[in-house]
Structures are given as C-alpha cells and as structure tokens.
C-alpha cells in the first residue's frame, strides 16, 4: 500500500527531516510510526498525503508514484486517503454534520446519501446526536472523533493519523486507538504516528521506529 524507497526530505530551512528512509506497509496492515518529536514521523505522513514532496527518492501509495501526481491529480489523490490531524483541523463555523460531510460534498455525493452516511460515521465514533453542535462546543476528545469520522466517511482504503491522541487523557487515547483498530479490522490500511509507546503495546501492531530521520527498527 505504501512504499518508501530511499526517501530523503530536506526542508528549505536546510534541516534534513528524513535521510534515505525505506519501508513498506502492506494493504490492510496497521502500522505505528514512533520516535521522538522531530524524528521524522510527521514528514513521512506529509509525504504520503502529498503535503510535501520528497527531496530524493520515491514514495509509492496504492501503486502510484507520488512524484507523478501533479496539478488537478493532487486533489483526486487526497480523496483516497483519510487524514486525522493532531489539531483536528475542523471548520469551527460549521456544524459537526457539515464537517464530517465535507469529503462527500467534494466527491459530489447526493444530499440524501450524505445525510445517511454522516449519521453512520458519527455512530461509528460514538457521536450520534451531535450533528448540529459546533466543534467548539465539544470536548477535545469529541473533536478528535469528529475528525476521524470525516477521515473515514468516504471509505478511503488508507487512513493516516498524526499524533491523534496527543491532547487526550489516557482513557480517551485508548478509545481512539481502538477505533483505529476497528477500521483496520474491516480492511482499511492504517498508519498512526505516535510517541505513546504504551498505547502501541496495548493495541498491538507493527511498529516502525524513527530516530533523527532514519528508520532504526521495523
């Protein structure tokens, strides 16, 4: 599903975030990216979602070389990836339902179908009944789950999450991780970047460890 071949990422500041990184994630697999902050976890996720481009090397996602995805192709490419952010990235002036529906609206799904799937997605993350709330009326954990519902509503084959439990207390964090596990159980490939080693042990999945831009174990 994902293959990094000798990928180096150097930012315009001169910092080398990734140095000749190679690894692969199989379809249907669940993988944790771990390491200290600044080890390169976020850079890997950004390269997968085409938010950044590799300085050298190749990133393949779902059989496609991301270097070849350009222009209008970028938007279409991103629709096949569900992304969960540490800071949620929700639209605060729209109700929860609109936030979750966004990927379907972009894909041009009919309104009636959207309403049905929004309810289903909110049900999956335990937020049924919060459709009309504004994101800021929800707790941080609930906002994170709105973000997860948005990431999965279009049924993408790949789900990536950057420190999704960073702001949550341990009980909520475990709940969120188990949610990811459930998506993985139904066939979604899941890549989660986290520094919370304890959680990884509880959920149980392959771990790719990064240190200073290099893969130290996988």
């Amino acid at each position: 599903m994902i293959r990094f071949d000798q990928v180096t990422k150097r930012y315009s500041t001169g910092r080398e975030a990734l140095s000749a990184v190679s690894f692969a994630v199989e379809r249907g697999e669940m993988v944790f990216l771990t390491g200290h902050s600044g080890a390169g976890k976020s850079s890997i996720l950004k390269l997968i979602a085409l938010l950044e481009r590799p300085t050298r090397g190749q990133v393949h996602v779902d059989g496609r070389d991301t270097n070849a995805v350009k222009g209008r192709g970028i938007a279409r490419f991103r629709r096949d990836i569900g992304v969960v952010f540490q800071d949620h990235k929700l639209l605060h002036d729209r109700p929860v339902a609109d936030n979750v529906a966004l990927p379907l609206i972009i894909a041009g799904v009919a309104r009636r179908e959207i309403d049905k799937r929004v309810r289903a997605a909110l049900d999956q993350v335990g937020l049924l009944g919060k459709e009309l709330s504004r994101p800021l009326e929800l707790s941080s954990g609930e906002q994170q789950r709105v973000g997860i519902a948005r990431a999965v509503i279009a049924k993408p084959p790949l789900l990536i999450a950057d420190e999704p439990t960073g702001n949550l207390d341990p009980a909520l964090a475990l709940e969120v991780m188990q949610l990811f596990k459930r998506f993985n159980d139904v066939g979604v490939t899941v890549v989660v970047a986290t520094h919370d080693v304890h959680l990884i042990d509880v959920v149980g999945a392959r771990r790719i460890t990064l240190d200073d831009g290099r893969v130290t174990s996988q």
Binding site: R72, A75, R76, R78, D93, A107
Partner: protein, 306 residues
C-alpha cells in the same frame, strides 16, 4: 456525479454564498454601494443622452428657413413671394409674418418695448418662414432651396437653422462616446472592487480553504463559493444602481417638466427602459464573476495545506 446532484450542489453553493454575504450585511452593503455608484454614473449619462435625443427628435421644424425681405418690400409683395414658394414641390408650407406682427411678438417676448418705442419706426422687415417638404428636409435639400429663394427679387437673407442641429448631434455623439468610455472604466473599477473584497474574504477563510484542500477539494471546488459571492456583489450593486437612477429621475422629473412647459414643450424625463436595466444587471453579474475569478484563482492556488 448525476446531473441533478451537480445542479443541486451548485444551487446549494449559490444560496450558501448569499447566506454568507448576508451574515455581514454592513460590509456587503459597503461593497455593493461602491459598485452601485460606479454603475449608476454611466447609467445617468446614458439617460441624459437618451432624453436629449428624444427631445431633439421632437423638433420637426429643425430645418425651417427664415426668409427676410427688403425693408422696402410691402406686405402684399411678401404674400406674392409666399404664393410663389408655396407652388414649389420642395416646400411643404409657407407662413408670412407681417413686420407689424413680428414687432408685436418681439415686444412681448423680448422686454425691449421701451427701446422699440424710442426707435419711432418699425425696424423689422416683412418675413416668411418656409418649411421644406419632407423629401427636402436634409442638409443638401435645404441648401438648394435656400439658393433658389435667395434668387427671388426683394429677398435679402435666408437663414437655415441647421447649424445648431448639426452641433447638437455632434455633441450627442461625443456624449455617447463619453458614456461608453466611463462605462468601460467603471466596469473595470467594479471588477477591481469585487476582486479586492473577494481577496479579503479569501484571507479571512484561509483556514477553511486549507482544510478543504486537505480532504481532497480541487482549486475549482474551493473557488466556487467565491465566484458566486462575486456574482451576488455584482447583482446587488446593479440593483442599488438602478434604485439610485430611479430616485434621481423621480427627483428631476418635475423640475424638467416645468422647465419644458416654459418652452411650450410637453417633454417629460424618461427613466431607464427594461433592456438597459437588464443589460446593466447582466454586465454587473459578469463583471463580479470575472473579478472574483481572477483573484480567487490566484489566491486559492497559492494556499497550500501543511
């Protein structure tokens, strides 16, 4: 995507963008006000032009010739000349004005009564007013007619009143160009105003655009609501402009009618016809759309999520 879903999506964006404009009524009114005044100006000029044409086309006697006889020629001689002219094919009608009658009219309208009394005798000659036949009511036709009349004995001068008609037409043509020119300039201004408003709107909603692009929105999708906003700004501005022009016409129509009555005319000020109103609305909508398209395309492309 089915066609009905596509239409529904556009309709939704259309209404949604209207809702967002309505959420900040003061800012929206300011922008629409500037656009409205910008559109009202060429429309007012157009009205002036249109009414001036209307007014001048009402003067059927624009090509009349004034024929002045020698001071010594009697009234009966004037009537004989009149009969002679009436017999011509290129003359529609002839009116003989006796010197005494001319003096009486002049005394009444000029206010120089006392000065005329001091002269002792009537300084005015007998004269005739000749209206050319319709076929001869052209510049060349009247010049030919004048040459013929000048050749008649006792005729001293023939005046054709076409010069001022030509001057007026020249002036109206000039005014027409001014209308087109100001229209063009202010059209560009409307685009710039809408563009600037949309630019601020985009900066305010940068976050939202970023999030939309993150979850796979194309630039076109992110741009669409702004295009509709531009459309609404244009339409709103044009509506205000039509309102402003209507108010101006309402304020001016009574004084204009009174002034016209003083000149013995039944002229009344005419407002914009529906074709021009419709054209102004359509033009403003297109300008708003294009203005926001230029700005939104550039700025939205430049926003990249990170």
């Amino acid at each position: 995507m089915s066609i009905s879903a596509y239409v529904a999506r556009h309709a939704q964006t259309l209404v949604g963008s209207l809702g967002r404009i309505a959420a900040h009524p003061f800012e929206a009114l300011m922008t629409m006000g500037v656009i409205g005044i910008g559109i009202a100006l060429p429309l007012c000029l157009h009205l002036v032009l249109q009414n001036a044409r209307e007014l001048s086309s009402g003067w059927a006697n624009a090509y009349d010739l004034s024929v002045y006889l020698d001071k010594g020629a009697s009234l009966s001689r004037a009537q004989a000349v009149g009969r002679e002219l009436q017999a011509r094919g290129d003359v529609a009608s002839v009116r003989v004005i006796a010197a005494a009658q001319a003096l009486a009219e002049f005394r009444e309208y000029s206010g120089f009564g006392a000065a005329l009394d001091a002269l002792g005798e009537n300084p005015l000659p007998n004269s005739l007013i000749v209206t050319p036949a319709l076929a001869a009511s052209t510049h060349d036709g009247t010049v030919m007619l004048r040459n013929a009349i000048v050749a008649i004995p006792d005729v001293v001068t023939v005046q054709i009143d076409t010069d001022w008609v030509k001057r007026l037409n020249g002036l109206l043509d000039l005014l027409k160009r001014v209308v087109v020119l100001t229209g063009g300039l202010l059209g560009v201004a409307v685009m710039l105003i809408v563009g600037n408003t949309i630019r601020l709107d985009i900066l305010n909603r940068r976050n939202e655009i970023e999030v939309m692009k993150l979850v796979g929105a194309s630039d076109g999708f992110a741009r669409r609501p702004f295009l509709y906003s531009g459309l609404w700004y244009g339409l709103g501005g044009a509506s205000l402009a039509l309102g402003l022009v209507a108010i101006a016409v309402a304020i001016l129509s009574n004084p204009v009618a009174r002034l016209a009555a003083l000149y013995g005319s039944r002229f009344t000020l005419k407002g914009l016809d529906w074709q021009i109103s419709l054209a102004a609305m359509a033009a403003a909508a297109v300008l708003g759309w294009v203005g926001s398209w230029i700005v939104a395309s550039q700025h939205i492309r430049a926003i990249n999520p990170s």
